[in-house]
Amino acid sequence: MAVEAIALNKHVSSSDARLTILEHLDLAVPHGERLAIVGRSGSGKSTLLGLLAGLDSPSSGKVLVDGIEISSLDEDGRAAVRGRKMGFVFQSFQLLPSLTALENVILPLQLAGNADAEALAKAALERVGLSQRLSHYPRQLSGGEQQRVAIARALAPKPAILFADEPTGNLDAATGQQIIELLFGLNAEDGTTLILVTHDNSMAAACQRRLQLNAGRLHEMHDEGVAA
């Protein structure tokens, strides 16, 4: 399995109450699968993505990535696994404003100690059609272009698993559609496992499997609706 979650629980405590976000959640994502997790705002999609990617740790339960139990690792251990195996695309792009497009793409390659970082980054930007925009800063790019840079950054290190959190959430419909096509196309070329969090049903429909997060649990979705 590329990613596996076993009996995953996540609670947050505030001063007067304990809020359950995820409850006894199980999930298995085979290598190469394209999975969509859908749900309403506040249903805990991003929290689940954070746990699966090791950005956060669960209250209880296990998360395994390529057989490695990342939920038992410390922050640095999880960071190392992320660096080796994962790529990320976020709703708000998360490009560093003081770095150019090229530098933003180079960053994860450099972190992985890749000697050929610049060439790989240029190639990745060319794949997303931005070879003319290498030295532009994020503020000089449109929203769609910024998300393309983010996709290039996510795919440049050739990750085994790509996490995407509402990748079209900040874009207009037409641009969003272009980004979906680009993301899926590149994902298919690379054979990467894709875990996509979205509330956009049309985007989810393009995935092999769709799960809906509701009341802290996942439910399988079929074309005709939701099944238990």
Partner: protein, 833 residues
């Protein structure tokens, strides 16, 4: 290496994106201010040392009243140091019917070892003769050189014969300048210089003669130091080993005050710059949190983040410090150009020490500024990327300790004394506290004002309410910056004026000593003739302190050499009905008319401290063979650098009148009245006139030049204050940008947003201006009265003007800062956030 290249790459990008400019500017400013003043004072110090050496005539001087042991010469030879000897004694010099007391100096080959003698072939009373030239050698055996004053008094020309003891010798040159006369102003009878080999044949040195034997050495500094240590070990009682640090006390005192001013203004600049750095670092830290969260997300370990952070801090510190040192070096050439011509020669090149202190300051400040955020930055959770509220910079108060310690150390270092440093530290801490409290109070008061109907004003007030902490921090930052600027405006002129007023243009420039009682009327007639109105004539009786509180005085118990010398020598005792105007009573009280004739004594503070004497002590003096016991009834402070005649020990009238007394007077002789003075001296040949005009010109010159130098350094404070104001604006820029964007999206007009911003900053500016004006006035009073001892007058119009200007400065600067993003469309604004 990976951490280094990541750190370097990011640093370049942050710089290109403009994130680091204010931080860097403030850092460079702090280092520039420190190093320029450091380089400059270093150069002045070494110039003084060189000048000191010229004044001594060598690097080290051994002197005594008896012939010095040959061991001094042998040791100098052994250490390969240049050496020579001189002998000085007073004697009458005769030409025909005329005779005059002269200070005779017989010099050995090679004199002076440092500096030079300037001679000429003709007598000129004022100024230097056109043929004045450095002497190639000492007076040839059998000839003498005389000072112009002696030549005038005896009507001598070059070639004339003059009688010195049993010899008649021709005058071979007029001695125009002898640097080594500067330090010893009260031995000034006119100079006659002769060859050391001729001394014996004059027959002037006999048992009981008042002779000063001197031995001079010069050479490699370290070797001279070792020689000095050796010489101090073998010196007999009555022999003195003097090095260059003892030379020119009056110039040292003027420069010491200048150094204090320079130190204070540098300190203000550096502290402002550090606070500016801290404020400017906040947006940088905030952005770094986002950067590191992304890096954590893509696999960076905490250790790597920490390394990158440390590398960046180090590189920023290093680049800023190097630039600061470079600018500091360039700036000090400006300072030196302003002050350079004070000295006989060009200032020597600066040393490396200021460079080291500049580098350490820059690096330490950078570390101290980042230190409070170190843990938050290292531990930033990767989850921040999905939830921005996670991993914000936490505020642990202990994290600010290094910054506080650094600022405190800075104060002590620049203040130059523990007292001054402690006072500044207390003032700064109090100021911060007060500023914070006043800002908080002012903000709360504003919120209680009746709600205005003007929507912009409401919006502005709401801005303050939303960000009470930011508002207080901004007010504190603005206040500090404004306070420094107002303080400079309030005190700079006063301080410098007062400093210069301590040596006014009509300060005494001549002393007459050895006036006999029957000559007083003649001297007063001279004052009338020369148009000198305020000259006073003081009586002087010489007495030796022999017992304190009934115990015979044992001078060997004084470990301090100066104390021993003071106790051993004869005191000049004087009497007066009233205290001199430039004295200040510290302890006890001055005598009343009813107490005249009572055995009382008023002592000078420094002397009483050195000799360990206090109020109520009974001192017994031996005056011309009889004893007089008096009780210390007051302790005074005397401003010695006013150049007025003053006394360590003063008694009431009615005690000393019966003892043999001579009189002393100091007065200001206007230019061109020398002839009247020469006539007086011809009438009363026993009078000794001491001319300190040249010396005072030099001190006054130093004050004038240093005033420019100090104003120059004030410029750094001004820049640092502006940098601080700007940093305080930048610190909240992003939040304001976001708000402006939201308001614009919600339909607010540009005008409304500008007015809201202006209303908010007008309030902040007014509170800050009020705090700053009050604080600066209090500080100005404290600095003037307690630290520099000059009177202070509150300048209300200037304070009001400063308040008005400061209230307007902040909103104007804010408007300039906001203007840029207000013109943008909401869509553009969205992208720039």
């Amino acid at each position: 290496m990976r951490a280094f290249s990541l750190a370097w790459g990011q640093l370049k990008s942050h710089w290109a994106a403009g994130d680091l400019r204010v931080l860097m500017l403030a850092l460079v400013l702090a280092v520039t201010a420190t190093t320029s003043v450091g380089f400059f004072t270093d150069r002045v110090e070494s110039a003084l040392e060189r000048q000191g050496a010229m004044l001594l005539g060598g690097d080290l001087l051994v002197s005594g009243a008896k012939p010095l042991a040959d061991a001094y010469r042998q040791e100098a030879e052994r250490r390969r140091l240049a050496a020579t000897a001189t002998v000085e004694f007073p004697s009458m010099v005769v030409r025909g019917e005329r005779s005059q007391l002269a200070e005779i100096k017989a010099v050995g080959a090679g004199f002076p070892l440092r500096g030079e003698l300037v001679v000429s072939g003709q007598v000129a009373l004022a100024g230097v003769t056109p043929d004045a030239r450095p002497a190639a050698d000492i007076p040839a055996p059998g000839t003498v050189w005389v000072e112009a004053r002696l030549a005038t008094l005896l009507d001598l020309q070059v070639g004339d014969q003059v009688g010195v003891g049993e010899r008649e010798m021709p005058v071979s040159a007029i001695l125009e300048r002898e640097n080594s006369r500067g330090g010893d102003m009260f031995s000034f009878a006119p100079r006659l210089m002769m060859n050391l080999d001729d001394v014996a044949s004059t027959g002037l040195i006999q048992y009981g003669s008042r002779v000063k034997y001197q031995f001079l050495v010069a050479g490699d500094a370290a070797e001279v130091d070792r020689y000095a240590a050796w010489a101090k070990g073998i010196a007999d009682t009555g022999e003195r080993v003097q090095d260059v640090s003892d030379a020119r006390p009056e110039i040292r005192s003027a420069l010491e005050k200048a150094r204090q001013f320079l130190g204070l203004s540098t300190m203000v600049a550096v502290i402002l710059a550090i606070v500016a750095m801290f404020l400017a670092s906040l947006p940088h830290v905030q952005r770094s949190l986002d950067t590191y969260a992304v890096m954590r997300c893509f696999g960076a370990s905490k250790a790597l983040i920490m390394k990158i952070l440390l590398w960046q801090t180090f590189m920023l510190g290093l680049i800023g410090s190097l630039l600061g040192c470079l600018f500091g070096y360039m700036a000090q050439t400006g300072l030196a150009a302003l002050a350079g011509s004070l000295f006989l020669e060009q200032l020597p090149a600066p040393g490396w020490l200021p460079l080291l202190s500049g580098l350490s300051l820059g690096l330490l400040t950078m570390i101290a500024v980042i230190w409070p955020h170190l843990a938050s930055l290292r531990d930033v959770p990767a989850m921040r990327i999905l939830r921005r509220d996670m991993g914000n910079a936490s505020r642990v108060w202990s994290g600010y300790l290094p910054l506080a310690l650094l600022i405190a150390a800075m104060m002590f270092w620049h203040a130059g004394s523990v007292r001054m440093g402690a006072a500044t530290l207390l003032a700064f801490a109090g100021l911060l506290l007060l500023t914070g409290l006043l800002a908080m109070f002012g903000n709360q008061l504003l919120q209680r004002l009746p709600v205005s109907k003007a929507s912009a004003w409401k919006l502005g007030m709401a801005g303050l309410k939303r960000r009470p902490l930011v508002a207080v921090a901004q007010v504190a930052g603005f206040s500090l910056g404004l306070m420094a600027l107002i303080l400079l405006a309030l005190v700079r002129g006063d301080l410098l004026q007062n400093w210069q007023a301590s040596l006014p243009a009509d300060a005494p420039n001549r002393f007459i000593i050895n006036i006999q009682p029957h000559q007083i009327e003649g001297v007063k007639a001279f004052f009338a003739e020369a148009g000198i109105a305020d000259a006073e004539v003081f009586p002087m009786v010489r007495g030796r302190l022999v017992a304190v509180n009934g115990e015979p005085l044992d001078t060997t118990k004084y470990e301090d050499e100066r104390a021993r010398r003071l106790a051993e020598r004869e005191f000049n005792l004087s009497w007066a009905a009233n205290m001199q105007a430039d004295n200040q009573m510290l302890e006890g009280r001055w005598w009343t008319a009813a107490e005249h004739g009572q055995p009382l004594l008023s002592l000078e503070q420094d002397l009483s401290e050195t000799l360990g004497l206090k109020l109520g002590d009974r001192l017994r003096y031996d005056i011309a063979g009889s004893t007089l016991e008096v009780t210390v009834s007051s302790i005074r402070k005397v401003e010695w650098d006013t150049m007025r005649a003053n006394f360590f020990a003063v008694m009431p009238p009615g005690l000393l009148e019966d003892y043999p007394a001579s009189y002393i007077s100091s007065f200001h002789l206007p230019l061109g009245r020398d002839q009247a003075l020469n006539r007086l001296v011809q009438d009363f040949s026993n009078l000794t006139v001491i001319d300190v005009a040249a010396l005072m010109e030099q001190v006054r010159g130093i004050m004038n030049r240093m005033t420019y130098a100090i104003q120059y350094v004030f410029l750094f404070s001004l820049l640092a204050g502006l940098a601080l104001l700007y940093a305080a604006l930048v610190a909240s820029r992003e939040e304001r940008l976001r708000e402006a964007m939201l308001l614009r999206v919600l339909g607010a007009s540009n005008r409304q947003i500008v007015l809201a911003g202006l209303a908010e900053f007008l309030c902040i500016g007014m509170i800050a201006a009020l705090v700053a004006t009050l604080g600066a006035s209090a500080l100005a009073w404290y600095v003037s009265v307690h630290l520099i001892n000059i009177s202070y007058q509150f300048n209300l119009p200037l304070a009001l003007l400063a308040f008005a200007a400061a209230s307007l400065l902040v909103p104007c600067a804010a408007w300039l800062g906001m203007r840029g993003f207000l013109r943008l469309s909401p869509r553009k604004l969205l992208q720039s956030v």
